[in-house]
């Protein structure tokens, strides 16, 4: 298949969106499902075909221009797609995982009425379309279009059950927080326009080295602000856990596998700029690390199954930023990929659980589910192992690559990163043990309903479980087997050789670190499993645990520092508007009226008074004549 037909990839989901959206009232649910999933599948197939071409050695990135989007003066922004190794990889992840989630959704959402079902699939298709646009864009504007598009779809999907106002609020929060980030992105684009006169990747990257470091730092920092919004990093991460209000497949698709990785993609894409700005790199690394740690600590004390996964997502995203910050772009992308698999798996598994529990999300009311849901149990366990970083599951490899690079940059990074990884292992197995082990703690009614999910749900689980298990082998580190890093080699034309920030660690150290991480992860996992299997964490947290359970009170902080003052300001402005600005305007009117009332008193009706005033007038004129110089 020709590279030129790349437009099919986003076009197919768009068609799916249009059909499902416009004819949602007349389509049957099965047809909707077929259209929704089928278009993504087709898209995946096309992506595979394209991938077939791209993976040929020596393939250089190609730009496929569809039409002129905006042309003003010297600034020309074509609607063009960038086809290269990086974007193709993402295409595969998005369409592949996307398809699985669509498939899963046909079953998971089956209880919805047909129009809403169709609406759901339309949104999902639109989301895939936006995400594809994001990764395919050959310039920052197209990227930005997809960027905002996924934000929108996230908004629509989180608020899918629009009757519930809390969900609506969560959706709104997601959109607005994303917008804050987008603003940074947008300003970065303007800076690029001013600096380079272009927003095309090729142009910008080619001239990057000639720009002043200050400007580049500003651009990269602003881009990173955008990334913090989209990828839920400090300080804009709070929307992501709230976004769990959406249907679970949405959480899987958007808030785990794809959308939130947009920030990683974008920074990886513009790594040329980041390589030139060490300051930003450090910031990215530190923010990533802090986010990873913060989210991990919060996840320790969450009881909502999806919330744990959400914070784990934030934490993992922090990892990826750490990778980006230390220059391990391949590692970051690698982690994106593996994370896509196991996090989608975990979310879908959680969805399966929730489905079986009749909508219950609180782990404290679960327990011992493996008895009823063997497939879910097993696949979920695979996911947990993978995310915990236990070899040879995929998470181990990708996480290790990042940690190794972090160590090379700064051992402190490594230390914190490792600690976070252990926390991850801990809370994941806490989750697993509480949910699947021990005895059932829910109601009779719920117990009665417990059942393994249908195949439309389990098949994606199985597929993802397999992927989560084996994907790690795409990126076997140099230390273990030279030249076995398939992914690294594949991405090399775009990202360049594996740049560990210039500092290479010795093979021995790397192996040592690897072993340390693996062993510790294993120990922590087992410990957590054993601990929570018998004594699930049911009590209300106290002390520091309460702080964690309440997410470090960050939401409250934001509320007090930003939302409330803004609200007060708005109220103040309303007051000013009414009383001062409009007050002045009305005051002028009233003044005229008042003046009128007073002035007409001059008209006393008495001739004597009139003549007197006339004489006074004459006097004034004469006095002016006498005393005022002209």
């Amino acid at each position: 298949m020709s590279i030129q037909s790349i437009w099919l990839v986003p076009a197919l989901p768009l068609i799916g969106f249009l059909i499902n959206g416009l004819f949602r009232n007349s389509l049957s649910k099965s047809l909707t499902g077929i259209i929704g999933s089928g278009t993504i599948l087709l898209s995946f197939v096309v992506s595979l075909l394209i991938f077939g071409q791209v993976r040929q050695p020596g393939f250089q990135g190609e730009v496929v221009t569809l039409f002129d989007f905006i042309t003003v003066g010297k600034l020309s922004i074509p609607f063009a797609f960038q086809v290269d190794q990086l974007s193709t990889l993402f295409l595969l992840i998005i369409t592949g995982v996307g398809f699985l989630i669509h498939l899963y959704s046909t079953s998971y959402m089956h209880e919805e009425a047909a129009p809403h079902f169709a609406r759901y699939f339309a949104y999902l298709n639109l989301f895939v379309f936006s995400m594809l646009l994001l990764v395919l864009g050959a310039n920052f504007i197209i990227l930005f279009i997809g960027w905002e598009g996924v934000g929108l779809c996230s908004y629509l999907l989180i608020g899918y059950w629009f009757k519930n106002l809390d969900y609506g609020n969560a959706a709104k929060k997601a959109f607005i927080m994303n917008r804050i980030g987008d603003l940074g992105f947008l300003i970065a684009i303007f800076l690029m326009i001013r600096q380079f006169g272009s927003v095309e990747f090729g142009e910008v990257f080619a001239h990057a080295s000639s720009a002043k470091v200050g400007v580049l730092t500003a651009i990269t920092m602003l881009l990173f602000v955008g990334a913090t919004g989209k990828s839920a990093q400090i300080p804009l991460y709070t929307w992501l856990p709230d976004a769990m209000a959406g249907p679970t497949p949405v959480s899987a698709l958007i808030h785990a596998a794809t959308m939130v990785t947009a920030g990683i993609y974008m920074i990886a894409r513009s790594h040329v700029l980041y390589d030139l700005t060490p300051v930003t790199q450090s910031v990215v690394a530190v923010i990533g690390l802090l986010t990873a740690l913060l989210a991990a600590t919060i996840a320790l004390k969450q009881n909502d199954i999806k919330k744990v996964l959400a914070y784990s997502t934030v934490s993992q995203l922090g990892y990826m930023f750490l990778g980006l910050g230390v220059g391990a772009y391949t590692g970051a992308v690698f982690h994106v990929m593996t994370h896509a698999f196991f996090k989608a798996l975990l979310f879908l598994g959680a969805g399966s659980v929730i489905h079986a529990m009749g909508g219950e999300q609180d782990m404290r009311r679960m327990g011992g589910l493996r008895k009823w849901m063997p497939v879910t149990n097993l696949t979920f366990l695979v996911g947990c192992v993978a995310i915990a970083g236990i070899p040879p599951f995929s998470g181990f490899f990708s996480k290790d690559e990042i940690l190794a690079a972090a160590y090379a940059k700064n051992p402190v990074y490594y230390g914190v990163g490792l600690f976070t990884a252990l926390l991850t292992a801990f809370y994941m197995f806490r989750l697993y043990a509480t949910t699947f082990s021990g005895g059932f703690r829910g109601t009779q009614d719920q117990e009665h309903h417990l059942h393994e999910s249908p195949s439309a749900i389990t098949i994606p689980l199985i597929v993802l479980a397999i992927l989560a298990t084996v994907a790690g082998f795409l990126g076997i580190p140099e230390a273990i087997a030279p030249d076995a890093h398939v992914l690294g080699k594949y991405l090399a034309p775009v990202i360049g050789g594996e740049a560990h920030g210039g500092v290479e660690v010795s093979k021995g150290t790397e192996l040592g670190l690897m072993a340390l991480a693996a062993v510790l992860a294993l120990v922590v996992s087992v410990w957590a499993w054993v601990r929570f299997k018998s004594r699930p964490d049911l009590a209300e947290p106290t002390g520091f645990g309460k702080v964690l359970a309440n997410k470090w009170y960050v939401d409250e902080l934001y509320n007090a520092v930003i939302v409330k003052p803004l609200d007060l300001l708005a109220q103040l402005l309303v007051f000013i508007e009414k009383n001062i600005i409009d007050g002045i305007v009305n005051g002028v009117g009233r003044l005229v009226q008042y003046g009128s009332r007073q002035l007409r008193l001059l008209q006393s009706g008495q001739v004597g008074g009139y003549v007197l005033l006339m004489v006074v007038g004459i006097l004034v004129l004469f006095l002016v004549e006498l005393f005022v110089k002209k």
């Binding site: 008074g609 007197l612 004489v615 004459i618 006097l619 004469f622 006095l623 004549e625 006498l626």
Partner: protein, 166 residues
């Protein structure tokens, strides 16, 4: 000081005093009489200024006809006695002050005019004579003269309109 000057001063003072009395007399009939006195004094000035025709006309028309008309009206209304209740003293004071101030500013404005050398010549010239005036009036001023008849016509019509009983 020649006789002319003496007469000038006498007439001037007479005019001013009479004028003031016109204003301050409580009895309207007295006001009328003092006004006639002013007119007589002014006519005297006219004679001093060799404006004999105007002096005569002034006496006949003003002091004679017009003031008599005023007197008639007073008689008609039976208002020969004091009829103004003294209210609104402030307006009165303001009136006097305003009048005085007007005098002041007018004098101030006109004093700046350097007219020391200009004199109103007396005892010479024939322009005040009825002959000279008549010739000019019916030659150069015939148009305004005729036009003033329109004024009289309209005054006549007006008085008829106003005075006619309905």
């Amino acid at each position: 000081m020649g006789i002319t000057q003496v007469l000038f001063w006498f007439l001037s003072i007479l005019a001013l005093l009479s004028a003031i009395l016109v204003v301050i007399s409580k009895n309207p009939v007295h006001s009328v009489l003092w006004l006639i006195m002013v007119f007589v004094a002014i006519s005297g000035h006219y004679i001093l200024l060799d404006a004999q025709f105007l002096a005569i006309v002034n006496l006949i028309v003003y002091a004679g006809a017009i003031m008599v008309l005023f007197l008639f009206v007073f008689m008609l209304m039976n208002l020969n006695a004091e009829t103004e209740p003294q209210k609104n003293r402030w307006l009165k004071i303001a009136g006097v002050v305003a009048g005085g101030a007007l005098l002041l500013v007018l004098v101030a404005a006109l004093k700046k005019a350097d007219l020391k050398l200009q004199v109103a010549e007396m005892n010479r010239g024939d322009i005040g004579l009825i002959h000279t005036l008549g010739v000019t009036l019916f030659k150069d001023y015939v148009v305004p003269f005729e036009i003033s008849s329109v004024l009289f016509l309209s005054a006549m019509v007006g008085v008829v309109v106003i005075g006619k009983k309905e």
